[in-house]
């Protein structure tokens, strides 16, 4: 339980700093510190048991489907890392309290810091590798925030993004690696995985898993060639650099290598990948560090170098090397965190981190100088400090390792690395603190307040103590930790300052001497270094990312440039292609259905249709003509429907077509009347080819279906129409009864269309369009009479007759072709006729129906008819009907379906009229005037008027 709590505490506490900042900066820091301290204490409570070899576990079931569980375990390795994370974390919190300026949002900083801390603790205490992945990614995210904390600095932004990109890449690789590992081991639990060394190393998937996991580790731990992100992350505030980039996050990779050491290490692949990478990183990092003038950059690359060292040790695969690795991890954490803090102090006091502008600070800030010197000497590996011991042991291991059969390569290169390390460490001391006292500092630097140097001082003390008495101060922890790393087969060893006269001693002496020499000739070497061509990692990375972004942008823009016509062409080709593939992919036998005979008139109709289709394609640029042709096609299709026994379809088709044409004409009035000739010939040919392919495909499909027999469910509808649905027009009974639900949806579509049109017109009329419309002038010659007398008179007679026809079609629909929908259209067309004759305004002023309400009522009628069935305990839309006889009249039928159909009727009328009304508003905004009279000239009215007026 407490293991889980140690992980959870930083997360739970993460909100507190944000809240406490109102109580002041001290309270904020204290709260953060208290949370961390609490976790640290919990850890210490468990420490004795762990040191004695116990493993503490805690498990919460989370996601069995995946094998992802909240399981934690605490062993020596976990203890060391968790202790480091929390312990150094405490010091960083203290340090940051004084480091951050008043302008920096401190609450946010501590929140991020706690999040990061929790994620780190999570990594080192996870027993489930998927859970570990989660924490792993969380460290990337929280470090992104921490690095970018000073968001106004471009370096901070770039550094944060680079760190995120690189560690993100590694994290993703690791996901794959971990999943493979889990696959091999049959579990995602580390405690289980660590038992399966043989199975894992024998698996063919071992190498991919290893590569992927190492990619994650190397990126996180800034191993060559992924070392470049680390220095740029140094744009972060110094506490962040000290914490993330020396003590914790960069060690996550090391931790994982150590964690998986028992099952992954010991193979050739492991050795060559890990040891070589480590060695290379150690030397390259050190070389770069030597020539960095920025204090933090120097320290950053020194960190890279030391991480390489540790990686190399882990790569050796021998238990003793692992022991050394663990020991150096501890030592590095102590001196490097302290060094970062001294660098921060210098920056804070002098306002510069440029070595070239520093020097002689020992006299001005003696305490800082002392701390820096001790820790830097430890970094250089000078006795009697802790760095010396672990470096000696490292050189010893290096001396005993052979690379590709060559026994001295590793030793030599490692010594060279150590030599460089000595050089930059001495440089840090000599060029910053020693030398003549300078007077060109903007203000006199002096030692900071106690709170700021307390933390590094404590670490410096540790550096000395471990150096002097490693057996007492470090050995138990190293034993416990290394025991965990090596999986129990720990060699006999003893940590001490003096190892005797070993090859390592001579290597060490060579390193110190060579390092001194290098520093002495530093100026000359620097000239050489600067003159030498070397890849600037940041520039490469930036170029890579921006090239990727640019390429992505180009691909994206090229594909998604808004050319709908191309999108549609692709859609058509895709549909044709997949249809063809489907056809070719299955058995096909030609149909056996006898075909209907062909007589002359249908052939003529067919000819008409074909010619009209061709004409539409050819003449479509004359838009009015295209609409006339649409009219022709609609007419022929309607006749076709009648001929082929579908009278309802014919009625619907023809009336829908006329309303469509009217709508299109209304819209066309404000659109260009001609389509310009702008397609190139190849394009036309391409489109024609697609069109022909589509036409052929659809035609062939239709033919294939028409010529084969089939069994259909509609026999039921034919049988049940009269007895069950109470109507002889099966199509209508299907519409209002069997599949009334479809019709319900359909009228809603219509209603929505009208509402959407209305909303659209409303919106555009309230926008800039309104102004443009006011300035609109007709683009074609206009006749002078708006409402010719003859049409007005004719419609006066036509309207009542048409309404009669509408009622008739409505009433007979259940038994004969017709129904609510067609009736609605007939009535709408009759009204439209009236509107065309006498103008919208006049006609509208005669009937004050609210079309919105008509639509709503229609849908409600239909819907409530459906709901009504609930009260009879029946499902939605269950119909009922009965026959009524009132003498002396004939028997007639009453059906609930009629009410439903009435809803359909109302919706249709309302929708059509609302759409037309909306369009006429555009015209009105375009300057059209209202007509108070139904016709332009009424000769009889003139006679009457002269009397009245």
């Amino acid at each position: 339980m407490s293991v889980a709590l140690i992980v959870a505490l930083p997360f739970l506490g993460a909100l507190l700093p944000g809240l406490m900042i109102r109580a002041g900066r001290n309270a904020c820091a204290a709260t953060t510190g208290a949370v961390t301290l609490l976790a640290f204490i919990l850890l210490l409570i468990e420490a004795p048991a762990v040191m004695s070899g116990e493993v503490i576990q805690y498990r919460i079931e989370w996601l069995p489907a995946l094998g992802l569980h909240a399981t934690f375990f605490l062993d020596g390795l976990g203890l060391l890392f968790a202790g480091m994370i929390l312990g150094i974390g405490l010091l960083i919190i203290l340090y940051a309290r004084f480091y951050l300026s008043k302008n920096d949002p401190m609450g946010l900083f501590y929140t991020y810091l706690l999040l990061f801390q929790g994620a780190m603790v999570g990594i080192v205490l996870s027993d489930n590798i998927l859970l570990l992945l989660i924490f792993w990614e969380l460290t990337s995210l929280s470090s992104f925030l921490l690095i970018g904390y000073w968001k106004h600095l471009p370096e901070g932004r770039q550094g944060a993004r680079m760190a995120l990109a690189v560690t993100g890449l590694g994290g993703l690789a690791m996901i794959a690696g971990m999943l493979i590992l889990g696959e091999i081991a049959g579990s995602y639990d580390l405690t289980v995985i660590l038992q399966h060394k043989e199975a894992i190393q024998a698996s063919p998937l071992y190498l991919p898993a290893l590569l992927l996991i190492l990619l994650g580790c190397f990126t996180k731990s800034a191993q060559f060639p992924f070392h470049f992100w680390l220095p740029h992350a140094m744009a972060a505030p110094t506490p962040v650099s000290a914490y993330l980039h020396s003590a914790t996050m960069v060690k996550a990779g090391l931790f994982l290598m150590a964690r998986l050491w028992p099952v992954m290490a010991g193979t050739e692949a492991w050795f060559y990948l890990v040891a070589t990478t480590g060695l290379a990183t150690m030397v390259i990092g050190a070389a770069i560090a030597l020539f960095k003038d920025d204090l933090k950059a120097l320290l950053a690359f020194s960190t890279v170098s030391h991480l390489g060292l540790i990686t190399m040790l882990l790569g050796f695969g021998s238990p003793m090397a692992a022991v050394v690795a663990v020991f150096h991890i501890i030592n590095h954490a102590t001196f490097k965190a302290a060094l970062f803090m001294t660098a921060g102090i210098v920056d804070h006091e002098v306002h510069s981190r440029d070595i070239k502008r520093l020097g002689g600070l020992a006299a001005l800030m003696p305490i800082t100088a002392l701390i820096a010197t001790i820790t830097a000497l430890s970094m250089a590996g000078i006795p009697p400090l802790n760095g010396f011991i672990s470096k000696e042991m490292m050189l010893e291991e290096a001396a005993h390792s052979a690379w590709a059969g060559n026994p001295w390569v590793i030793g030599a290169v490692a010594t060279f690395g150590a030599l460089l390390s000595v050089a930059y460490s001495f440089r840090y001391i000599a060029h910053v603190f020693l030398g003549p006292r300078r007077d060109d500092y903007p203000q006199q630097p002096h030692d900071p307040p106690f709170g700021m140097w307390a933390a590094p001082a404590l670490l410096a003390v540790l550096v000395v103590l471990i150096g002097l008495a490693p057996g007492f101060f470090a050995e138990p922890l190293v034993v416990a930790t290394a025991g965990a790393v090596t999986g129990g087969n720990l060699p006999e060893f003893h940590l001490s300052l003096w190892h005797g006269v070993t090859p390592a001693l001579f290597m060490s002496i060579a390193a110190v001497a060579g390092g001194g020499l290098l520093l002495w000739r530093h100026a000359n070497l620097e000239r050489l270094w600067l003159a030498a061509p070397r890849p600037e990692a940041k520039r490469i990375f930036d170029a890579l990312v921006s090239a990727a972004a640019r390429a992505s942008g180009r691909v994206t823009d090229a594909l998604h440039d808004g050319a709908l016509t191309r999108y549609l062409a692709i859609l058509c080709v895709a549909a044709i292609g997949i249809g063809l593939a489907g056809y070719l992919g299955g058995q096909h036998s030609p149909g056996q259905r006898p075909q209907l005979p062909v007589s002359t008139v249908p052939v003529i109709g067919w000819l008409l249709l074909l010619v009209s289709c061709l004409s539409v394609a050819l003449f479509h640029r004359q838009r009015l003509l295209a609409l006339v042709l649409i009219g022709v096609i609609g007419l022929i299709i309607s006749i076709g429907f009648i001929y082929l026994s579908a009278p309802d379809l014919a009625l619907t088709q023809i009336s829908v077509e006329v309303v469509t044409v009217i709508l299109l004409l209304l819209a066309l009035n404000f659109l260009p009347k001609q389509t310009p000739q702008e397609s190139t010939m190849p394009r036309k040919l391409r489109d024609a080819a697609i069109a022909l392919a589509g036409g052929l495909g659809v035609g062939a499909l239709c033919w294939a279906i028409l010529t084969r027999d089939f069994q259909t469910i509609s026999d039921f509808h034919l049988e049940q129409s009269y007895p069950g649905g109470g109507g002889t027009n099966v199509v209508n009974v299907i519409l209002v009864d069997f599949r009334g639900f479809d019709t319900f949806g359909e009228i809603i579509v219509l209603g929505i269309a009208a509402l959407a049109i209305y909303a659209l017109v409303e919106t555009i009329l309230h926008g800039p369009v309104s102004r443009r419309l006011r300035a609109w002038t007709a683009d074609q010659v206009e006749a002078k009479d708006r409402h010719p007398l003859m049409l007005v008179v004719a419609t006066r007679v036509m309207l009542p007759i048409s309404l009669m026809v509408g009622v008739y079609i409505f009433l007979r629909g259940h038994n004969e072709p017709g129904g609510g929908f067609i009736a609605g259209l007939v009535v709408a067309i009759a009204l439209v006729m009236q509107y065309m004759a006498s103008g919208f305004a006049w006609a509208q002023s005669r009937s004050r129906y609210d079309y919105h309400s008509l639509i709503a009522l229609g849908v409600l009628f239909a819907g409530l008819t459906g709901v009504g069935a609930w009260f009879a305990g029946r499902p939605f839309l269950t119909s009922d009907f009965g026959y009524v006889t009132i003498p002396p009249l004939e028997k007639f039928e009453l059906a609930t379906a009629m009410i439903f159909d009435l809803g359909v009727f109302l919706t249709v009328v309302g929708s059509v009229m609302l759409a037309l009304a909306s369009l006429s508003r555009i015209a009105r905004r375009a300057g059209e005037t209202l007509n108070p009279d139904p016709m332009d000239i009424d000769p009889s009215a003139v006679a009457r008027d002269t009397e009245v007026r």
Binding site: Y758, E762, V781, A783, K784, D785, R786, P788, M790, L791, A794, V797, M798, I801, F840, A841, Q844, R848, D850, Y851, H852, M913, L914, A917, S918, S920, R921, R924, R925, G927, E928, T929, L930, N931, P932, D933, D936, I937, A941, V942, D945
Partner: protein, 134 residues
Amino acid sequence: MILLVEVLISALLVVGGFFALVGSFGLIKLGDPMTRLHAPTKATTLGVGSVLIASMLYFAVIEGAFSFHELLISLFLFLTAPITANFIAKAYLLHRAQPEALPRTERDCGWANFDAPKRDAVLTPPLNEDPAQR
């Protein structure tokens, strides 16, 4: 009697077909849109009219069920055909005819196509309110 009616029906059908054909033939034969307008408006109405009468007779006598639908269709056609012709003529006049070439109205105004209505309607400014909302 039946035979007589059959002959009558057949004759009507033949006449109807013939006139309809002539009407549509005129539509392609005649040379100028205004004259073309004559062909379908007249010939076709008689063509369709004959067919409608034939149909009425047919259903009444041969099928034994009176049918009045045809009357209704005729009513519609007779009501609409002149209006359609009038509109087509106006559309033609607007774009193809010179107003000066037309005979004078012998009134103090021109033809409605080219001259604004004499007793002009009192035009009101555009309303801002939405007619659909009233």
